[in-house]
Amino acid sequence: MTTEASLQAGVMTNAFRLHDRAKRNPDQVALREKFLGIWSDITFGEYWDAAETVGHALLAMGIEPGDRIAIHSENRPEWLFADLGIQAVRAASMGLYPTNPSAEVRYLLENSGSRILITEDQEQTDKALAVRDQLPNLERIVYIEPRGIRDRYDDPILMSWTDFLAAGREHREAHPRAVLEVMATAREDDLATLVYTSGTTGPPKGAMLTVKNVNAAIEIAGDNSGFVSPKPDENDLIISYLPLCHAYERAFSEWFGLSAGVVVNFAESIETIQTDLREIQPSIFQSVPRIYEKMHAGVLIRAASASRLKKLNYAVWIGVADRIGKTLERTGGVHTLSSRLQYAAGYVFLYRALQERLGLRRCRHAISGAAPIAPEILRFFMGIGVPMFEAYGMTENSIVATTNRRGRVKLGTVGEAYPGIDLRIDDETGEILVRHDGVFAGYWQMDEATAKTIDEDGWLHTGDVGEWVDGTHVKIVDRMKDIIITAGGKNISPSEIENTLKTSPFVGEAVVIGDRRKYLTALIGIDYDVVSNWAQSKGITHTTYQDLTEKAEVRKLIERVVEETNAKFARVEHLRKFSFFTKELDEDDGELTATQKVKRAAIEKRFSQLIEGMY
Amino acid sequence: MSQFLQATVNGLSLAAVYALIAVGFVVIYKSTQVLSFAQPALVVTGAYFVAYFGFTLGWNFWVALGLAVLIAIGVGLTVERAALRPMIGKPVFSVAILTIGLDVAIRTVINDLIGVDFLGVGSPWLGQWDWGGAFIRHAQVATIVITIVLVIAVMAFFQYSRLGLAMRAAAFDQEVALAQGISVAVVFAVAWGMAGGLAAVAGMLIGTGFAGVSAGTAFVALKALPAIVVGGIDSLPGALVGSLIVGMAEAYAATYQAGNFDFLGASFSQVVPWLVMFVVLLVRPYGLFGTKEVERV
């Protein structure tokens, strides 16, 4: 924070963080992207140069502070170049999920009033072009990949990334310090980014995160070792693969990447994440329960189909890992002498190789967030030596609320509030309330919704029901609106049951039903790949997903899973019946959000016949 | 003139021996797509057992020949079943090398049985005719006659018998033949059996023509390879023409080189078949009658 420009500014921004790093260590590796089979380096010098060029290009187009610019792309360096360029000229970025369909694109662009849209390729460009008539504010679409667009589309609204940068360089020639000058005028209440909530209930709402919010998140979670301890630095590697338009990934790939100098490696795609992980072996791994569940299921399946000796080896040492996991659960994550010795032995035979295969061998801190995770999964990873911590946060509080800390882990809780923030649980409703500088400025042009979320005293109403555990740790019961009140008047958290169901590799999706009903039931979606494999090994022929769910053997298989789940819960929480989804849930059909969360209301409506059939 | 006549007859009988081996080779190649370098092994196997039964044990020559042919067929079938069946679908060259491996292994065993001496085969064709200075041995005539008879028999088999038709179909397109209900296993077995039988007869003829069976018998058999290549490895008529060309060239070279072209070295005629092959291949890369391969990328 010693450069001339930042002293003038007085307000630290991400653009300055990048600028400072580029000036101090221009050759330090900032990003890595897999290109033609090689992880090619991008240094902070190149990073800043690209971001500044984007800034100039935006200035050349007449972008003013406060304007919104949309980015519709998979994670890739250009995403960050664009975002940093946007922030440098005090505009706000708005990210769209690559999976967003055209209608959603229209809503988000219209709602945010974006002037410029940066798209990744022809696919995303087409989505915007289809609805551009309804978007009077949209002035330009900048496409990154020219394939399929160049020489084929002649819409004047289109501009290639190369031309866009060329315009920026031209502007820089003419006004070399223009971007730096705008940066220096930055204010704390500048809108840094607009993050749209995925909207499990109504239409998505744009959460406004300001420069102050971002700085608070960096200070609380990053610099003060809130998230990762010891705190992240230049020797750390992370892998960027969750959608960058989500605050969770943005905090890691951009905010912490700039504040701590962590090397950000872009995964090729979410499908190749396993391979990318093995190659990168990140030291910090931010992920969501779904990924951990998949990893866990993958291990179980591959272990089951290993050769005899390997199977035996696995069985022996995974048993030990289970014991180690239980010990760690008891001690809060601190090894006892006995567990350490057991781990050392198991490391030689299994854990080392297993970690290597999962890509978590160099991982010093794995985080699970964004959704509740089953304690069984956490215990599994802790047992095989991956330091795993469940954390809690949301877009509206710049993902800063609580986290489990090294040596003080309590499974089943989301940990303790970060030092220096206010967190309480409402005595009446049980809702978790948070107050700190990271709490967002409100929903974009939705004052009513904002007023419902932030009260006069500045408390953020999270919408999650929580309870204290041992007075220090917070346990999330469920989303307030998801809590099931049975006909008998009993309050039940469906997500806990659902997550326990999902610890079975065969279960991909589970929705517990029972609000105002006599007993609980569940809609279950099988994991098609896993169950299909299992069926093949049992010689059960099948064709489609639906055909597979209709097999008596599959039903028996899932019945066993349900019985095992029931055994872990009290009698009123037992599932009496279950049905299979007749199809795989899909975002395009409005059943899942872009973050793959189930839209309960939509599902209860669509599958109402199935549900009624169980009562 | 008598020298020329002598050389011609020598060449014809040599060509006849090559032809027998070459026909077996082409039959295997056409019906199984295997380039068999194991033919010399089958030749010495046949030759040795004729010698063993007919000479060492002193049995009737025809009985000995019959038994030897059966043994060679047996060896051919075993080789096909044990070593080549698992290689179906592997690259042609791998299979060819594999047959070299088989050849080395089998030949070593037979050579050990033969020992260092020449073994007679006990054939009934011992005399010779004197045609004005040219000595035509009965064995040579027998060689030519037997070859002609066998080649006609093989041709007739392919032309008129049901199995022969099936084999031609399999050679034309294996998959379609399979779809038509032709047992490829039978086709393979017949091809190898036939090649084994022909090789055994050829071995016996080499033994009669060259004063006995020895480890060197295999080298005579090796010279059938250029004959096949000259004709084109997938053509039966080609094999016959190739044998004729190579056999005659070798015989004339043997007759006329000594005294005229001594600088070419003693026993130059032994490498003449290879030289003929070089020349032909340089002019026609697929031999005289070979099918030009059409490649698709």
Partner: protein
């Protein structure tokens, strides 16, 4: 990136000789063991061991043309012979032992490269034939080459001494220093065989490195493209003539060097030894070792060359004695070659290298099976 073998940040690293420190470590261990072996090995083991080092050079050569570039050659024995005779003729001095033979008495620094170069020249002459012919027909031509070669060697008595007579092999006279006589090296007393072993050891390392570098360079990639589909390679802009000539030239160079030195261990050359069987031995080395691998060529050469000694060794512990039984060592060896070729082609087409890969994959996939 230390501890992250999968994180490859440049193509240079991607094609590096050793991708991890572990690989480098084990290579050093292997080299140290190989350098230490001859110091205590009894002579009856050391002789085939030394021969196997030179054979390995020859096998690498064959693997370059056949394994990497896919140009089937059964004519390797011919190029080995050329190397052997060029070396013998250039090195030996005229004297009572070489009556009537070509002998020039050059130093090794001259005759060794020349042996390789003349063989390479002949290889380059053969290469255009490979342009015209493909696959099996090419195999036949190279086979014919062996027969012509054998005939040539037997007939040219001034060079070879003739069949059954032969001549002395090349003299290892390097800059006036005799490598084929017992003597002290750096204060260490070495026998002639030990010295030759070390010569082969150093030379093999150099030649193997050169070959490996060739294989992972533009040339090696062109070879692979030609092997996999020559028409496709041509369409990609690979000059078939150029690369086939390079393949045959380099391969023959290796054969020439190998041939020049192979017989210095036993000290004697006989023209009939460069026959089809010798070619088949080299093909066997490549196949048993592993097609299109340098380390495989070395493994194959060592295995094939040491096999007779191993059979003798094993015989001491087996009820069967080759000295009195119906099959002697040489015959057993030949039969085993034949059967090994068959065995490897059917069960392990990748050869010894393939076995090694299998074992490695077993541990690589640990704790799973895939």
């Amino acid at each position: 990136m230390r501890g992250r073998p999968g994180l490859i940040t440049s193509y240079r690293r991607d094609i590096a000789l050793f991708r991890t420190g572990t690989q480098r470590f084990w290579m050093v261990v292997l080299l140290v063991v190989a350098a230490w072996l001859p110091l205590w090995m009894p002579n009856d083991w050391l002789v085939p061991a030394a021969i196997s080092l030179f054979a390995a050079i020859g096998a690498i050569g064959l693997n370059l043309v056949t394994g990497y570039a896919g140009q089937v050659s059964l004519g390797h024995a011919f190029f080995l012979g050329v190397g052997a005779y060029v070396a013998a003729a250039l090195s030996t001095e005229t004297g009572p032992g070489t009556r009537g033979l070509l002998a020039f008495g050059f130093d090794m620094i001259i005759w060794l490269p020349l042996a390789g170069l003349i063989a390479a020249l002949l290889g380059v002459i053969v290469a255009p034939v490979a342009l015209r012919l493909k696959g099996l027909y090419l195999a036949f031509v190279t086979l014919g080459l062996v027969f012509l070669g054998t005939h040539l060697f037997q007939s040219w008595k001034e060079l070879t001494g003739g069949a059954g007579v032969g001549r002395r092999a090349a003299e290892l006279n390097l800059l006036g220093y005799r490598l084929d006589k017992d003597g002290e090296v750096f204060g260490l007393f070495l026998t002639d065989t030990q010295k030759i072993y070390f010569l082969g050891f150093v030379l093999l390392i150099v030649m193997a490195l050169v070959a490996k570098n060739l294989a992972r360079s533009r040339i090696g990639r062109a070879f692979a493209a030609i092997r996999d589909r020559d028409i496709a390679a041509e369409i990609m802009g690979i000059d078939l003539t150029r690369y086939k000539v390079i393949a045959f030239g380099v391969s023959s160079f290796y054969a020439g060097i190998a041939g020049a030195l192979l017989y210095t261990v036993t000290g004697f050359l006989e023209p009939t030894s460069f026959n089809l069987t010798l070619s088949v031995f080299y093909v066997a080395m490549v196949l048993i070792g592993g097609v299109a691998t340098i380390s495989g060529s070395i493994m194959g050469a060592v295995f094939v060359t040491m096999l007779p000694r191993l059979i003798d060794f094993a015989a001491e512990y087996l009820p069967y004695d080759p000295a009195t039984g119906p099959l002697n060592t040489g015959q057993l060896e030949a039969i085993m070659f034949g059967l090994l070729i068959v065995f490897f082609l059917i069960f392990e087409p990748l050869g010894l290298y393939g076995l090694w890969i299998r074992v490695r994959n077993y541990w690589k996939a640990w704790p799973f099976s895939y």
